[in-house]
């Protein structure tokens, strides 16, 4: 009741008021001025969480059978989210996404790990393998808007009917079997951190120095091959396509070639890319940044930019725009995370926005694990249960187990694929759960990477030994990278499938306990169970999820 009163008191705020004047970036947005931060921000909660308005248990979650067909309605025209079971705070859901042109729908079972195909492909892995190999069978992958906008250009992707068609469908071939997969694109905001030296954030947007146009790269704008002309205001000072008459002055000018990414641009790019799930542009600040004012400014800007993204979104009937919760590591009552959450809640209650899902951003940037899990915990407690929750940039297996226990549904990370390229395989067992295949130990190790793994390297009659992979890595044979990438993705997919199974059987607590004890075996020789070395943050995070390790 109190909550409703609070909402009434706050009242709907006209959109125009949300765009603040440049000198006011650190001022609390008007729509948050009347929010009661003495109580935790939360909305749309079900058991085991407490209700939105008081401290009584929330109503039970309504679950549906696993094979329930999707229903897309006006309130959520491109996403249908079903919860099948909960085990503690962990949940097994299915996300049905509006199929891309001509495709059949491919449901996304959660918890899910989304491999990252930055430039429209997974490094060393064909779409055929990714979608048809049962060990992988990835229903959704991630692409980076920033990179796709540079190469090949989203205009070109739009011509092809979107990235789905560009990646895996020969549109002129009648016998072609289109690969069936979903796509998620980030907004380009992450590059504010990863390319921090090349970017500058203003209220208008993010200005990147185009890394591909730096004269030292010697590329002279060749990367803009996908753009027909340079009329757009986003990419300023289009580079010449002819290298023949490049003067020193031109080279100096290239230093100044900047790419301005506005929220409107980000959405336009993502509309052209055509991913099933797109992200609002957020003001990402490195989680290890010490400037508190910068975090505050970024949090409010993220809310303002979300409004601009909503306005710019042209394909809400087929693409789902997820806002991103920011706010640094401030989980205090009324802190930045709560203010960001309150902002989104306000917009939902006012009917300004009806986000089909929410993302938790600003993490996995080097912050302490203690800070990390507390942010995840707070966001999961606050965000509505009838919508998917996506934790951005997180992909360590232990993190997936802990965060799934806290209620996260979706993850993405380059870790499994990148680490494969360094010759490291993900394996169960003591932390860090990796096997460095280039090490001398593997030179004569004739075991497979992981017994029971269904990947091409480990399963069936093919079985590739560690020694063989070591040997192939030594000579930089591409097959080694391909097999390791497959193994690591198969490992992640297997992990999320196991988690889902455990949740469906309401045994997630036992699964999490076993997983943690497998990773941390300290003290096992003294009392058989091990686990003496389980980090405090794991214990505390799982305890917050109701799991005692």
């Amino acid at each position: 009741m109190g909550g409703n009163e609070e909402e009434k008191a706050e009242g709907p705020v006209p959109k125009k008021q949300r765009v603040e004047e440049p000198h006011d970036f650190s001022r609390l947005p008007d729509e948050l001025k009347n929010v009661d931060f003495s109580r935790p921000i939360r909305w749309g909660k079900c058991f085991p969480y407490i209700s939105d308005n008081d401290n009584t248990p929330a109503p039970p979650v309504s679950t549906v059978p696993v094979d329930t067909p999707p229903v897309f309605d006006d309130s959520s025209p491109a996403l249908c989210h079903y919860i099948h079971a909960v085990s503690g705070r962990a949940r097994a859901c299915t996300i049905h996404l509006k199929p891309h042109k001509g495709q059949t729908t491919r449901p996304v079972p959660t918890p899910i790990f989304m491999p990252v195909g930055t430039k429209g492909c997974l490094k060393g892995l064909s779409m055929h393998e990714l979608t048809t190999d049962p060990a992988l069978s990835c229903p959704i992958i991630l692409a980076n808007t920033y990179h796709m906008a540079l190469q090949p250009g989203t205009e070109l992707l739009d011509e092809f009917g979107g990235l789905h068609c560009f990646m895996g469908n020969n549109i002129n071939n009648e016998t072609s079997k289109e690969y069936n997969f979903n796509l998620l694109t980030d907004s380009g905001g992450f590059q504010m951190v990863s390319l921090a030296k090349l970017s500058q954030v203003t209220e208008e947007g993010v200005t990147f120095e185009n890394p591909f146009l730096h004269p030292q790269k010697g590329d002279h704008g060749k990367r803009y091959y996908g753009k027909k002309n340079s009329t757009t205001t986003t990419i300023q000072d289009e580079a010449p396509t002819d290298d023949t008459n490049v003067s020193e002055e031109d080279n100096n000018n290239k230093d100044k070639r900047m790419m301005l990414l506005k929220p409107e641009d980000s959405i336009r790019y993502q509309n052209e890319i055509g991913a099933n799930i797109i992200m609002a542009l957020d003001d990402v600040v490195s989680s290890v940044e010490v400037d508190a004012d910068r975090f505050e400014m970024a949090t409010y800007r993220t809310l303002r930019w979300y409004d601009r993204c909503l306005q710019a979104h042209q394909k809400s009937h087929c693409q789902n725009l997820f806002p991103i919760v920011q706010g640094g590591l401030d989980t205090s009552p009324g802190g930045l995370r709560e203010r960001c959450l309150a902002g989104f809640r306000r917009r939902e209650l006012d009917g300004i926005a009806n986000a089909p899902g929410y993302a938790i951003g600003g993490l996995a940037g080097g912050e302490s694990k203690d800070d990390f899990w507390r942010v995840v915990d707070q966001c999961c407690k606050a965000l509505p249960d009838n919508k998917p929750r996506y934790l951005m940039g997180v992909g360590y297996p232990l993190d997936l187990v802990v965060c799934s226990a806290l209620g996260v549904d979706m993850y993405d990370c380059v870790y499994p694929t990148r680490t494969a390229r360094f010759g490291v395989a993900l394996v169960p067992g003591p932390t860090p759960g990796t096997l460095r295949l280039k090490s001398h130990d593997c030179a004569t190790d004739h075991n497979v990477l992981q017994e029971g793994c269904p990947c091409q390297a480990c399963a069936g009659v093919h079985k590739v030994s560690r020694a063989r992979l070591h040997r192939l890595l030594k000579t930089e044979h591409p097959l080694a990278i391909q097999l390791l990438t497959q193994h690591n993705i198969a490992y992640m997919m297997s992990l999320v499938r196991q988690m889902r199974q455990a949740i469906l059987q309401d045994k997630f607590d036992a699964f999490a306990r076993d997983f943690v004890h497998d990773q941390f075996r300290g003290g096992a020789e003294k009392n058989n169970s091990g686990g003496q070395d389980i980090p405090v943050w794991v214990r505390e995070a799982l305890a917050a999820a109701g799991i005692d390790v």
């Binding site: 430039k119 429209g120 492909c121 997974l122 490094k123 060393g124 892995l125 064909s126 779409m127 055929h128 393998e129 048809t132 190999d133 190469q151 090949p152 070109l156 011509e159 092809f160 560009f166 990646m167 895996g168 469908n169 020969n170 549109i171 002129n172 071939n173 016998t175 072609s176 079997k177 690969y179 060749k222 990367r223 091959y225 996908g226 090490s439 001398h440 130990d441 030179a443 004569t444 091409q456 069936g460 009659v461 093919h462 079985k463 590739v464 063989r468 040997r471 192939l472 030594k474 000579t475 044979h477 591409p478 097959l479 990278i481 391909q482 097999l483 497959q486």
Partner: protein, 441 residues
């Protein structure tokens, strides 16, 4: 022990199925005993054994497939540091017991010492010179792990027991064309001796191909050369070997000389049974492949599909319309700049930027079925490994198509026509940098 060779469904190198001696097969060079870019899943999907067994054989070089680490025996392993040292290989050496990758077992595998000893030497030598040496006991082979000694016994064991190949080429000591006469003579003598020894000790369950040093064959009067061909002829007559593998032919730079040398070699073993396999272990260009085919070679070894994929080139030479070249109703062809190998350089083909067509219309490879030129161009521009993977799948598939066409034309007696068709394309390209190779959509 039941041999893995017996269990597989590969076609036997000595069998006469699919047109017998008229079949022309591609001997694809492996790298480190594996086909680059083809994972087990991709190999099974794109090149199922039932569809390619008559045209695709796998060439495995002991040089790179059978190198294994040698572990030093620790003197004492008392402390942790020494335990760590124990795991470090003290070096690498040939291991005759190395087994082939399991997913290659269904395919016909041919073992060779090395495909191109001179090229190996250039690749690994700091001085960028050919340095191929040998003694009567062994050849020195350049590998990724330095120069290694390969003895005849170790090689034969690797071929027969470790790699369990369907066919193996006897060990040879190849030298360059411009080597001194003494060196050439020594290499011939060694090769002859090793061939004789291998024949004597060879088990009957595998196929043996006699190695024949091609470059030396030009020296008509050399007693070593005469001995080489006499020895091969005897072995063929006695059925001790089933084929002849011509070594180092690809190093002859002049095309007319290559053809004439190959003709001479074949002429010298003209009394061989008609079922004798004639193999050229390595070819470096499409032109060389067609020369081999024209001279009646059955097995043509090459790593061109791999090389082209690395160079971001797509093999698009027209291999399907040779029968109706003069048919006015033939689909109109689109001029396109391709190189002397009938390949399209994807990285510089800006016309592909917005091209939604497959690499080659009508091509049934996975790449052409599922991906368009624009996507491939994008992958090449972004330097993705997937570009090489997809290009390799197409190149190998299309190369197999070429070998299928070669076999058909040999059966139908229209070899000349096919050769002219391919050579016309290459010649057109050389003259005009344009080739009428791609059918228009």
């Amino acid at each position: 022990m039941a041999s893995k060779r017996d269990k597989c469904s590969a076609s036997s190198p000595s069998s006469n199925d699919d047109g017998g001696e008229k079949a022309v097969r591609l001997l694809l060079h492996t790298v480190d005993g594996a086909i680059p870019y083809l994972t087990p899943h991709l190999l099974e999907t794109c090149f199922p054994i039932e569809q390619v067994k008559d045209f695709l054989w796998i060439g495995i070089a002991v040089r790179d497939a059978c190198i294994s680490p040698v572990m030093a025996t620790p003197k004492k392993d008392t402390d942790e540091t020494k335990n760590k040292k124990k795991n470090k290989p003290s070096g690498y050496a040939f291991s005759p017991t190395t087994e082939p990758d399991a997913w290659l077992l269904p395919y016909t595998r041919v073992t060779v010492p090395t495909f191109d000893p001179c090229q190996d030497s250039i690749r690994h030598s700091h001085k960028n010179i050919v340095d191929v040496t040998a003694s009567n006991d062994h050849v020195m082979v350049w590998t990724e792990f330095g120069r290694q000694t390969l003895t005849r016994e170790a090689y034969d064991t690797a071929a027969a027991e470790g790699l369990q190949s369907h066919a193996s080429v006897t060990l040879f000591d190849a030298c360059t064309e411009d080597a001194k006469a003494k060196r050439k003579r020594a290499s011939l003598e060694r090769t002859n001796a090793w061939r004789e020894e291998t024949i004597k000790s060879h088990a009957s369950d595998g196929t043996l191909w006699a190695s024949c040093l091609v470059a030396a064959a030009k020296e008509d009067q050399d007693p070593g050369v005469t001995q080489q061909f006499e020895s091969i002829q005897n072995a063929l007559d006695n059925k001790s070997v089933n084929g002849v593998a011509f070594v180092n032919w690809q190093t002859i730079s002049d095309a007319s000389q290559r053809v004439s040398v190959l003709q001479q070699c074949i002429q010298r073993i003209k009394n061989a049974p008609t079922t004798t396999t004639l193999a050229v272990l390595s070819t470096n260009s499409l032109e060389q492949v067609m020369e081999c085919f024209q001279q009646g070679i059955n097995i043509i070894g090459t790593n061109l599909p791999i090389q082209w994929a690395k160079q971001k080139k797509a093999f698009v030479c027209d291999v399907g319309n040779w029968k109706n070249r003069k048919d006015p109703k033939r689909p109109k062809l689109e001029p396109s700049s391709v190189d002397a190998d009938g390949c399209f350089p994807v990285d510089s083909s800006e016309t592909w930027i917005r091209d939604a067509n497959p690499i080659l219309a009508g091509c049934s490879c996975l790449t052409c079925q599922q991906h368009c030129r624009a996507y491939l161009y994008h992958l090449v521009q972004t330097k993705e490994l997937l570009a090489e993977i997809l290009l390799f799948i197409h190149n190998l598939h299309h190369m197999i198509g070429l070998f299928r066409a070669c076999s058909q034309s040999r059966i139908s007696g229209s070899e000349e026509e096919l050769c002219r068709h391919i050579q016309d394309q290459i010649a057109n390209n050389n003259n005009n940098n344009e080739l009428q190779g791609l059918t228009k959509h």
